[in-house]
């Protein structure tokens, strides 16, 4: 028993010694150790002093420590008397050593103790932290710091801001400073100043300004400025609504882009060629699996792999499409309903094939870093970048396809064959060859859509089925044989879905959209933009 204890003590002592030696090897670490231990031992009124001198010595670390203390995340280990950052003080949690960033796992909660502060220290530290942040070198850091304290300041901070404002050069930071000051002058006795503040706050878009103005209405129910404030409150609320609906439309456009992407290949195979390709969803799935495989081949270059996957998916899906056309569909031209059955059979075979090769479980495709993130337009509106990429990708594919159909020799021949096969043949167009190429093009585009969809949903054997009905709806709604129709139909269905969603729920809004399309087809059986003329198919 005692032996055990002795061994523990010795090893602990040895560990300490090694630690100290290791620390000694770093330049200036004695000071750090001293300061850390001074902070641990210090009483409340000494802590401000210690942090002030620390601030002189190492500004970055001091600010970091003060922030941790403000968030009650700074602890020290009773054994080694060093400082640690602990986010969740319970046994098993991870503690990060402050001076070298080393990680340890807590065994017992009692091993650590918080470096506590009182309210006075809190305000001192906060003043220091905010002051440092407000004089950061990058303007966007200063702006973020200023935005964070709108409506949440102390008299000392106001003084600091007034001082910093005189030196500030960046316009947006200046405006934010003015807002911080305006919240305070809202309560001034000078009515002109109040009016000025109200105007400033009323024109801004921060939720904090709205709170400040609402606070004004509650604090001064008798004020003569009340109508003016109410007017601004209404105005801000109107703007909030406006940006909310902008965001809904943005979500709708990104959903619509997904629909367009899924449907646009079908707009070629079904719309232009008249082949009811029920295996379309599976061609999308093949594109998604190609993305997965490409990513497996180059695991260190996720971003690049996505760019490689686009042509790869086009080629793989296109090749499968040409196989399907040559093997099955070409025997069934002129029997559209039977093509439907045959391609449905193919879709089942492809699904089972993928299930047998890759297992029935979903595969996850990684999203590159540059696709994540948010673009802040203003305090009320921020747009997710991944959705932006989907919209841009969708439009790019659409324009490329449009260019192929309208500007190339292949497109000309495809249109000629679809409008009048015999006449095209007599002009020397190899119609069989064109059929295969067209189907391959449509299938390839479906594969490219699969690359995009692999970023949004799980890649699994059933993923194609989820898109087949939507794709047909988009193409039929837009008008068969019309690429622009597909674009308009997909985007408007996406937006309609997102507008309905808040009050009907996700599922019901989808049902409503489907019912709408069913009714719409009754009214205009040829879709939004029907083909006209003698060759329009009946």
């Amino acid at each position: 028993m005692i032996n055990q204890w002795l061994v523990n003590c010795l090893s602990w002592g040895l560990g300490c010694l090694l630690l100290v030696l290791a620390n000694l090897s770093q330049a200036g670490t004695f000071e750090v150790v001293e300061r850390e231990q001074a902070l641990i031992k210090a009483k409340f009124d000494q802590k401000a002093q210690i942090m002030a001198s620390w601030y002189e010595a190492d500004q970055v670390q001091a600010v970091h420590l003060m922030q941790l203390m403000l968030n009650s995340q700074l602890y020290y280990f009773k054994q080694d008397k060093r400082l640690y950052q602990v986010e969740d003080a319970s046994s098993g949690a991870i503690a990060r050593r402050i001076h070298d960033g080393g990680l340890i796992t807590l065994k017992k909660k009692r091993d650590i103790k918080r470096v506590s502060i009182n309210n006075r220290l809190r305000s001192v530290f906060r003043q220091r932290v905010v002051e440092t942040q407000l004089s950061a070198i990058k303007p966007q850091d200063r702006l973020a710091a200023a935005e964070a304290i709108i409506g949440d300041t102390t008299p000392e901070l106001m003084a600091t801001i007034a001082r910093l404002r005189a030196q500030e050069v960046d316009a947006s930071v200046l405006a934010a400073f003015d807002l911080v000051l305006a919240v305070a002058t809202l309560h001034s006795s000078d009515e002109d100043q109040q009016r000025h503040s109200i105007r400033l706050l009323g024109e801004s878009l921060y939720p904090a300004s709205l709170n400040a103005l609402n606070g004004f209405l509650l604090t001064y129910p008798e004020s003569r400025l009340k109508p003016m404030v109410s007017k601004y409150v209404e105005k801000i609320k109107g703007k909030v609504d406006f940006y909310d609906s902008l965001e809904t439309i943005y979500f709708g456009l990104s959903l619509g882009s997904v629909l367009v992407l899924a449907g646009i290949g079908l707009a070629i195979t079904f719309g232009v060629m008249g082949v009811i390709n029920m295996a379309h969803g599976e061609l999308i799935m093949i594109g998604a699996y190609t993305t997965y495989l490409v990513q497996q081949l180059m695991p260190d270059h996720i971003g690049l792999s996505l760019l490689v996957a686009v042509p790869a998916a086009f080629l793989v899906s296109g090749a499968v499409g040409i196989l399907i056309e040559r093997g099955v569909i070409r025997f069934l031209y002129g029997r559209p309903l039977e093509t439907l059955l045959a391609t449905f059979g193919i879709s089942l075979i492809l699904q089972q094939a993928v299930r047998s090769i890759f297992s029935p479980l979903n595969r996850s495709v990684e999203t590159p870093l540059w696709m994540t993130g948010v673009i802040d337009i203003n305090p009320l509106l921020s747009l997710t970048q991944s959705r932006m990429y989907i919209i841009v990708f969708c439009l790019t594919i659409f324009l490329l396809l449009l260019a192929v159909m309208k500007r190339t020799r292949l497109g000309l021949q495809v249109r000629a064959v679809s409008q009048n096969r015999d006449m095209a043949k007599s002009m020397g167009v190899r119609s069989e060859w064109i059929d295969a190429l067209t189907f391959g093009l449509g299938s390839g585009v479906a594969g490219v859509a699969g690359v995009a969809l692999s970023q949004l949903t799980n890649v699994g054997p059933n993923m194609g089925q989820a898109y087949i009905i939507d794709s047909f709806m988009v193409v039929v709604f837009g008008g068969v044989g019309n690429l622009w129709g597909t674009l308009v139909a997909g985007l408007s269905l996406g937006v309609a879905n997102k507008i309905l969603e808040p009050w009907a729920g996700a599922v019901l809004s989808k049902v409503l959209v489907l019912v709408f399309i069913i009714l719409f087809i009754q009214k205009r059986p040829r879709g939004l933009f029907p083909q006209r003329g003698r060759d329009a198919k009946g």
Binding site: I349, Q352, K510, I518, I521
Partner: protein, 358 residues
């Protein structure tokens, strides 16, 4: 009735074997289990299930084979009939549910509902349920067909909106707010008409009822196709415009055949549920509707008996393969789709007919 089957060798065979099964299977089932001729009750129920699916195939053949509408949504009518019967069976559970509530089913108690929703009223009466089994699909088919046929939606477009219809219904039935059990659907049935669903006699009776329903359904379909109106139906399939110009109200004829077919599908669903013991929104899935087409296509379109035969054969193969070789089943089904459309456009019935004439 005999005259109805005058030129219908396949029909005579089908009805003959069904009558034989009605007589023979109870006898074989009554044999001791040790006997090699013993027909287990499990298989009786399975066979009964195939017969209800054959009735569904019959209704699809009437619409696709004779009227020329490739419906991708007939499973919706089947499922609606099944739900109507399921609601009756739910009410029969009474206070034997987990929560022992006399009025409310378990899932309603679970959702904390206080009283029976209005559309559940009356479903404790068998005759109301039977009425609804036919009425609900008929009303949906009437509404859908009235709009679609009047505005002359046809061909591919019609197929796609029938698919949208069943898809929309599936999504709707998945919602708990729909009041029909949501995801889980309706299950845990106990009795039908006071007889336990677990007893062998009830199972045998349900099998017999399915066989009789198939015979009656077959004769009704044959009556329609043999009648003068049936000739017009085929005329519409082959040349809709000409038939219209000859003065027939094409949309009315289409509508009535479509509604009749939907009712037939509803009855099939109603017989299906007590034998399978569950109904959930998956029955609405577009895949189910398309599967029916392959039964009809394999058996032979526009023959009626071919559809019934195809349904029984393929479902037997499905039961066998999904147990023995689950990996292979979708390959087989998919391959069948491709093979039949490319090589056997007339199905097995067409093959037999060709042999007969040679």
């Amino acid at each position: 009735m005999i005259r109805l089957l005058n030129n219908d060798t396949g029909g005579r065979w089908l009805i003959g074997s069904l009558l034989l099964a009605i007589v023979l299977i109870p006898v074989l089932n009554a044999l001791p289990t040790s006997s090699s001729l013993h027909f287990p009750t499990y298989s009786v129920t399975l066979l009964g299930k195939y017969l209800t699916l054959a009735l569904l195939a019959l209704s699809v053949d009437l619409v696709w084979g004779y009227l020329g509408i490739l419906t991708l949504g007939h499973a919706a009518f089947f499922a609606l009939g099944a739900y109507a019967m399921g609601m009756y069976l739910m009410r029969q559970i009474g206070d034997r549910g987990v929560y022992a509530n006399v009025e409310l089913s378990d899932f309603m108690v679970f959702l904390d509902w206080q009283e029976l929703p209005w559309f559940w009223q009356g479903f404790d009466q068998f005759w109301v349920a039977i009425l609804m089994v036919m009425l609900v699909p008929a009303v949906l088919a009437f509404g859908f067909g009235f709009l679609a046929f009047r505005s002359r939606v046809s061909g591919v477009y019609l197929s796609i909106i029938t698919q949208a219809m069943t898809y929309a219904l599936m999504l709707a039935f998945y919602r708990n707010e729909m009041g029909l059990g949501g995801n889980n659907g309706l299950t845990d049935f106990k009795d039908i008409l006071g007889y336990s669903l677990q007893s062998d006699h009830t199972k045998m009776a349900l099998f017999t009822a399915s066989a009789v329903a198939l015979i009656i359904g077959y004769l009704l379909c044959r009556f329609i196709t043999n009648s003068r109106a049936g000739k017009v139906v085929v005329a519409i399939r082959d040349a809709e415009q000409r038939t219209r110009f000859m003065g027939y109200r094409v949309e009315n004829i289409k509508l009535w055949v479509f509604v009749f077919s939907a009712m037939l599908a509803g009855v099939a669903g109603a017989l299906y549920v007590p034998q399978v013991g569950i109904i959930n929104p998956n029955e609405f899935s577009p895949l189910n509707s398309i599967e029916v087409l392959v039964w009809v296509a394999v058996g032979g379109r526009a023959t009626l008996y071919g559809a019934a035969m195809g349904a029984i054969l393929i479902n037997y193969a499905k039961s066998y393969l999904t147990v023995e070789l689950p990996e292979v089943w979708l390959f087989v089904l998919g391959g069948l789709f491709v093979f039949v459309t490319l090589v056997l456009p007339q199905g097995v019935a067409g093959l037999l007919k060709r042999k007969g004439t040679e």
